[in-house]
Amino acid sequence: MKKAFYMLSIAAMIIATNSCQKPKLPQSQDLTKQDASVALDWYKLQFRFLLERN
């Protein structure tokens, strides 16, 4: 019983740390490990608009 409780607690901790941030630590999504794809994809779209419209 005790072992199952510990396993559940560990699982909950893993889920919490894998979400964007841990509570009370506003910088916990580590941007140094986050790739730049979201920025690059938006710029690619902006370049396409610029090429079509200028």
Partner: protein, 388 residues
């Protein structure tokens, strides 16, 4: 979207994620008349990818007026693509909070941009008349010249409120033994002996816009984007690089056009047709505004120099800007070598003097260095092995 708005786009991107960077500061503490940006709620969780996604989607809607239904659908589609990815990993409340923060940053940036007095028109401008002054150039003979009021736009740097480059080094002369004549003759002689490679370089950087290709601003930012992709830097570094290169794009345009309209120097085609060859035309179209300093050299140098500390100068980048035309991509051994090629392309094109290109490169490098030195956070405590 006018290319000079890339500065706002990059600043907004950085502000949307900057609370995720340890001990970072806002650009509002460094840039001229930039208002305070929205803050996050204390002790609440944020997903910075969600806030960046929301900021970029909102800003691209704000800054691109008159988008077609298909283009608006492309924005929705990209925003939804990232939202769906993020939703798998993030609680609904964290996602909504992050998205709201991102949208508030976009609104704050756009509101700020509306007071910047950027005026791309030439209405009412009268060009001065003197020996060696700019006059309309063939074949289009456009008049008044373009963008005379750009220098009135609010700069990002207080130091750039009135900055003007030193005067052109040679006094106007029609004497064949003068430095001025020799400088003009060089443009003519280069044209006579253009190699295929030189023609390719001139065409690659012609960037005439008007539905025919990128604008110079668009091409420069595309180059930075390819450098960011090549170096695989993280989102924090990429956001800073997009911001600083966008700031450099705008600042160099303001400083360059302020200088162009202070000295109002004539273009090579005017002098060469008067004194060397009455039927001569430059290899690429002569832009309809004064010559000195060379804007391609100035702006591209500023843009790449602003990100050199972040991405590294000795990064080989292949520029695929004109793949869509079937043109061979061009590879540069360093960021600054692309600026040097952009600069010399204008001599090959017959539209700039070598001395104006050198001045532009030097001015751009200095301005880019100033922007690159804006310190936003301690890189050591946010170390990234890909970037340093």
């Amino acid at each position: 979207m006018n290319g000079v708005y890339f500065g706002y786009l990059g600043i907004g991107l950085y502000e949307s994620i900057r609370y995720g960077i340890k001990n970072s500061s806002s650009f509002s503490s460094s840039l001229y008349q930039m208002p305070a940006m929205p803050s996050i709620e204390n002790n609440e969780t944020y997903c910075w990818t969600a806030s960046a996604n929301a900021t970029m989607a909102s800003m691209i809607r704000y800054f691109n007026s008159g988008l077609t239904a298909a283009n608006l659908a492309s924005i929705d589609s990209l925003e939804n693509f990232y939202n769906e990815k993020i939703n798998i990993q993030t609680s609904a409340t964290d996602f909504i909070r992050s998205q709201a923060f991102g949208r508030s940053v976009a609104t704050a940036i756009y509101t700020w941009s509306k007071s910047d007095s950027f005026n791309p028109t030439n209405t009412g401008y009268v060009a001065p008349v003197f020996d060696g002054a700019w006059v309309p150039t063939p074949p289009a003979m456009i008049s008044p010249p373009a963008s005379p009021y750009v220098s009135n736009a609010r700069p990002f740097l207080m130091a750039n409120l009135t900055a003007v480059a030193p005067p052109f080094p040679f006094a106007y002369s029609e004497d064949t033994s003068s430095d001025f004549y020799k400088m003009e003759k060089e443009v003519y002689d280069v044209f006579q002996g253009l190699t295929t490679e030189q023609k390719n370089i001139a065409l690659f950087w012609v960037d005439q816009g008007n539905g025919l290709g990128y604008t110079p601003d668009g091409h420069n930012m595309l180059f930075v984007s390819q450098a960011i992709e090549k170096t695989k830097v993280n989102l924090a570094i990429a956001a800073e690089a997009f911001a600083k290169s966008g700031i450099a794009e705008r600042e160099s345009n303001i400083a360059c056009f302020r200088t162009k309209y202070k000295y109002n120097l004539l273009r090579p085609v005017t002098y060469i047709r008067k004194l060397i060859d009455p039927n001569w035309l430059s290899f690429i179209p002569t832009p309809p505004f004064p010559e000195y300093p060379a804007a391609h050299a100035f702006v591209t140098a500023a843009v790449v120099q602003a990100v050199t500390d972040l991405l590294g100068d000795h990064v080989s980048v292949t520029d695929h800007a004109y793949d869509f035309r079937g043109w061979t991509p061009r590879t540069y051994p360093s960021l600054f070598s692309a600026a040097e090629e952009a600069g010399i392309s204008r001599l090959y094109g017959g539209i700039h003097y070598r001395v104006s290109i050198s001045a532009g490169l030097n001015l751009g490098r200095d301005l880019g260095n100033m922007i690159g030195k804006i310190k936003l956070y301690d890189k050591q405590s946010n170390s990234n092995p890909n970037a340093y």
